[in-house]
Subunit: 274 residues, 3 copies
């Protein structure tokens, strides 16, 4: 395990943290990321004064690319379960959605797959005009593992959730906002200030009101732990088929997990067999 | 029963069917339609290779007009229940929503009442700019029978579902897209290519991933069979009142179920007692 | 208790009432309002011919300002529970959402807090271009008491509900329509005619169909009485903290509950500690 922290936590004030993700060169989500998210969620859970956390990316092209498909399966299998009893990768999503602070994703660049599942587990998504979201798992022959099916069904309705999940295509910010995948898209150059102003607003409120009100919205939209477990099982089952391995191999042959090339336009390339 | 097939199934490839509905002169839904939908759903359920089915209409003015109100009640009463135990007309909607392939309605022209309930039971709705959707049942004094109340509440939220169901008016494509009644509206002349490209994309993915991922979105948005039963009961109860018969009679006197005239603008005419 | 009626009920026809709210000078919701809403809801529940009720405001600047924070706590504590067993203020919202007539809010001016909760409990919200909606409770250190968390989560999805409730800001009509907080915004000068035409349409339909169809949409989006109880408890617990009292005091020092000044722009001022 690397000791390098991928998450820079800037304590703007006791009630407001700004967390910047960087995992060069393209913000893949690897096993370190998963362990560090778990620790970060625990810190957020336990902080008595924290009202609001903004997540942003140090990489203008990638907010969070997607799961690193070259990860060490032995180390992954050995990772202990999270506090909910779910595997850590699922536990992160479930716990993140319930932290007693408001979490905001300020999205620039691409955020796909497990990255999309991460932002769907934050409370609010604001996007820059060039942001791109998507769940490309279907293109590697897999059911998404972090239950974006449940989150998107609630956010954008059955029809659009089907389109996003089954099409596996890229959703540019404007369309994502029309569908409700993100709250709204800000004009060029305005995202950071808008999010900072919004976060300072919440930072100035009082924790009992903030965490109390959030709890009610969460309760109305909560997803049972069993759905996360079922989604991860389905991912593992479908992604371990030989046909899925072939698709992944073909993607790597074409430049998968390289910061330039097909990752810039993955929605298109995921649907092409080489 | 006519042996004429109202549904032309074009097998574009083993994983992609394009189904064209035609029931001249105006694509009413009659008892043949209902029986043929049942058979078609069974075929879709059982096909091992099918990933995606596109539904379109051969009639540019009517995707599916609505239930034929001149249908043979004796034959209707004698129709056996569907596999779920529900009457066939309800069973079709329930089973269609759960087929292990992605279903897409490519909507041109008008689709109202039982036709709207049909497209609401497909997974994804794309519309041409001249498409018109609506649930005019309230105008014949009836509660809609195919439970669009449940589907629309999930898709567009309580407020807009109330407006659509209680107002009984026509919803042009653009407004339908703003509300979420359809996924999106395509510019003039682009619907067919857009849908075909999207369907070929899904056709190229793998069935275990497609049907597996769909199942999760369906589970998050499913409607219990008992709701379909209750909706059909409410339709029968309300539509069999003498006041409802009067309204239907008045509509026929004004040109109901004729391809020209009030059917072009039914949302307006349904609210006028002649 | 004042005998002055704050709700003018204009019986346009036996099936259509237009109710105009006026509680000068700025349409605060006080204890009289709450008692009069209870009576009005009972009248609506019991009327055998009523299909549709339109709510509007006599005050162009305020549809309903918000709860009067200077109300008589002793009298409030002595108010009997409503028919559901919930305190009257919650009972009103629950019962209003279930009346067997369609209820429409025709919103001009500001509607915040308990006023927003009122319109969220009507079936349909149409807004003029200058309308402003919001839930500013977080700014007085309180969890909203009328469970807008549940209603908004259903209407606009988790992400936007979080933004509205946790940000506590004003939502102008256009943004409210994009989010689904209101059904749609009408152009300047067109709201009244649009709503009247829509209401006359429903008034001309038949009560068994209207109330029957509404019941299905309501059933699909209903909120349990226990959620209203929990929300009111959370409001009382959070609003009775000394920090909350300080915030309210500061707001009064700056012109709170005066029809001019900070109430025109409360979303901004609520986030500023004086």
């Amino acid at each position: 395990m690397s000791n390098h922290s991928q998450f820079d936590v800037h304590v703007v004030s006791p009630s407001y943290w700004k967390v910047t993700f960087e995992n060069a060169p393209m913000n893949l989500i690897d096993l370190d990321t998963i362990e560090q998210i778990a620790d970060l969620v625990t810190r957020i859970e336990q902080d008595p004064d924290l009202n609001v956390v903004v997540f942003q990316s140090a990489n203008p092209d990638f907010f969070m690319a997607h799961l690193d498909l070259l990860l060490d399966n032995k180390r992954a299998a050995a990772m202990p379960a999270g506090p909910s009893g779910l595997p850590l990768v699922s536990d992160n999503l479930l716990r993140l959605s319930k932290v007693p602070a408001v979490t905001i994703s300020a999205i620039n660049g691409r955020v796909r797959g497990a990255g999309s599942e991460f932002v769907l587990s934050t409370d609010i998504r604001f996007a820059g005009p060039g942001a791109v979201l998507g769940q490309p798992e279907i293109g590697i022959g897999a059911v998404p593992g972090g239950n974006p099916m449940g989150r998107l069904a609630e956010l954008v309705g059955r029809g659009r959730a089907m389109e996003i999940i089954l099409g596996g295509d890229d959703f540019p910010a404007q369309l994502a906002a029309e569908y409700g995948y993100v709250n709204r898209v800000l004009p060029e150059g305005e995202l950071d200030d808008f999010v900072d102003t919004f976060a300072r607003r919440i930072a100035g409120f009082e924790k009992p009101a903030v965490s109390g009100a959030k709890e009610f919205v969460d309760a109305a939209t909560t997803i049972p732990a069993s759905d996360y477990a079922a989604s991860l099982d389905a991912f593992r089952r479908t992604a371990s088929r030989p046909e899925s391995a072939d698709r992944v191999r073909s993607l790597f042959a074409r430049g998968f997990q390289q910061p330039q090339g097909i990752e810039l336009d993955l929605g298109r390339h995921i649907a092409e067999k080489a």
